[in-house]
Symmetry: C2
Subunit: 378 residues, 2 copies
């Protein structure tokens, strides 16, 4: 048996495909979607424009955006059976319920079985519209309320907050949710997008790939950081206790959550847009302490930043959700709402020149051995 | 931007981990589970013994096997809500319904949220018992029948046929199903097991990983071969037309289904056990023509076998299912029943020394460019 092959644990540094969707320069801390910097997009674009950009490669003109937006809004409908399924599973974690409902849509909507680029985009946009509906419906049902029906006049972000809360959001709140979705929209071959590509590699349909992506995002090491940061903030309690908290963690060689990323060595470029949002929202809502605790943690972590330990995107997003009164177990589902266009376009790219993704494990088990009859075993 | 890196399309030939579960020698056409040849296991073992072997690394003695079998049988129960969900989604493809039900179990059974080796094995065995129940219940429900309750006195394979048909299977039929499960039980880092490992890499739980595996197996290029072969057999119709069929396909440079495998260059060692099953079952049931058509295709393909085009495991299994009167859209779900122990142990191995699996794509999109306001776009 071969023993001198290289084992690429975590597939770290291994390129498996070319992609024209996003460019991450981990050293410089730069993120481009289709050539546009995340800063320009966070400051100027809407989530709908970013969806169009990611999926079609160019920013839409007025007519293209209107048509795209109309298609996205038309997707705001769910079969009755999905509500039944949410009711049956209502006590589960929201990610499990979301994944179950998306999986059920594959069984309920026959167009889900279609493959190819046009079908992937069509089904992807419909799912992009449906995913926030499922999350909001589950949140209503588990709290004994009737789901709020989607409003086809609102933007994607505003409609999400409307369905979640049952009241029209302020312009600022809708804008902050919109920016949050833009920042989470795409991030290369991260574990969830990569797993979805592996599913597409077997010629599966888009719904199957999205179910894989949701399963993979649900792992705490992928989508769970915002929740972990919020727990840390609660544990710290007040800004003056942050330095001691960080010192204790580092002494015990434990990670401080919200810092570090497989790809970034500089600060995650998405973080700054959320940081400003936390500061403003906290001040407006008379709750500036969350921002202060986070900044005290950042200050205490400065000595370690030469190890590439800078804040990542999820360091700030949890506090924004908290200020909005959103329960912690919805943080990962919210990540999923934002990530939909990234997953879709990664799957579209995969199926263009599709190939089965099948790496190898090196066998380190027993050599060939003889069968032993049941009665003769020790 | 870096341009001279190697792109490992399909991750072909890339080792990402060591594994002690199975050894595939593609050149020799050899497959070992934990050191035992697939031939010894297919001829001597039961599926329950193979499950134990794969999961625990050694063949069980009499007491160990009895305890393991009791745990597997105890798992034969489904919450009522799963039956409700199957009813809601009953018109979907059986793989979509199976995946939805497994995903729902994560929401319905709180123990599904536990992680770590012991929890993965416990939850895995329970799912191994539940998966055939879901498939059989769906088959009953979509045909307007009440699901047949599991019989805790029967073997895994016999209970499957009992639930599917509502009558106790003959010893031969149960044995053939048992061998079919053994042959499909494990096959290294194939796309579904690998995708499940990517999901586990984010510290997700086993149910999430199994949902990923099911999504990935559902792709026609992975689990769909048995169905494709059966369609081909119907298209050929009689043994004398096989040579012409193969010639036409090869002339058009189209693949003949059921031949070739990413890993095997010699004959897939699993094929021979199914071949003998097809021959015997066909003769017994007075339907020898399926076997004859398959063998005529094999003969016609002989000139191409120097390209590594030998039959794979799924070349024969479809005909066995057909002889049992099982509808074609259950072929992939049956593959899933067999593959459960392999997926489970791959996930157990992954979480032992866990690492995020996150390869890279090389950016080939536009260079950094300036933002353009909506009104100014062409």
């Amino acid at each position: 048996m071969i023993e001198d092959v290289k084992i690429n644990r975590g597939l770290k540094g291994i390129y498996f495909e070319r992609s024209g969707v996003s460019h991450i320069d981990g050293g410089k801390g730069e993120l481009l979607y289709r050539g546009y910097t995340i800063h320009d997009l966070a400051e100027n674009a809407t989530f709908e424009e970013v969806c169009y950009l990611l999926i079609h490669g160019e920013l839409p003109n007025t007519d293209e955006l209107a048509a795209f937006d109309a298609e996205l809004k038309a997707g705001r409908e769910l079969p009755d059976a999905v509500y039944d399924i949410i009711r049956s599973a209502k006590d589960g974690h929201p990610m499990d319920v979301l994944r179950t409902a998306v999986s059920a849509l594959a069984a309920l909507e026959p167009t889900s079985q279609e493959v190819g680029e046009a079908a992937f985009i069509r089904n992807g946009l419909r799912l992009t519209a449906q995913v926030p509906m499922i999350i909001a419906a589950h949140e209503a049902i588990r709290n004994g309320r009737e789901p709020v029906m989607a409003d086809k006049n609102l933007s994607h972000a505003a409609n999400w907050l409307w369905m979640l809360k049952g009241e029209k959001p302020s312009e600022e709140a809708a804008k902050l949710a919109d920016v949050d979705f833009i920042l989470h929209a795409e991030h290369g071959a991260n574990a969830s997008a990569f797993a979805a590509r592996v599913t597409v590699g077997t010629e599966a349909n888009l719904h199957g790939a999205m179910v894989t992506a949701l399963s993979t995002l649900a792992g705490p090491a992928h989508g769970g950081a915002a929740e972990d940061v919020m727990k840390m903030v609660h544990e710290i309690g007040t800004p003056d206790k942050a330095a001691e908290y960080v010192k204790t963690k580092r002494k015990a060689r434990e990670a401080v959550t919200g810092f570090g990323h497989r790809v970034y060595r500089a600060e995650d470029p998405r973080a700054r847009h959320m940081r400003e949002g936390v500061r403003k929202l906290g001040a407006e809502m008379g709750a500036p302490e969350w921002y202060e605790i986070l900044q005290a943690v950042v200050d205490a972590m400065k000595p370690y930043s030469r190890h590439g330990l800078n804040v990542n995107v999820d360091f700030y997003s949890g506090v924004i959700y908290q200020l909005h009164g959103i329960p912690m177990d919805l943080y990962v589902p919210i990540f999923a709402i934002g990530r939909m266009p990234g997953w879709i376009i990664q799957c579209v790219e995969q199926q263009r020149q599709n190939i089965l993704i099948r790496p190898l494990t090196l066998y380190n088990g027993p050599d060939k051995r003889d069968w032993i009859t049941l009665g003769d075993r020790a």
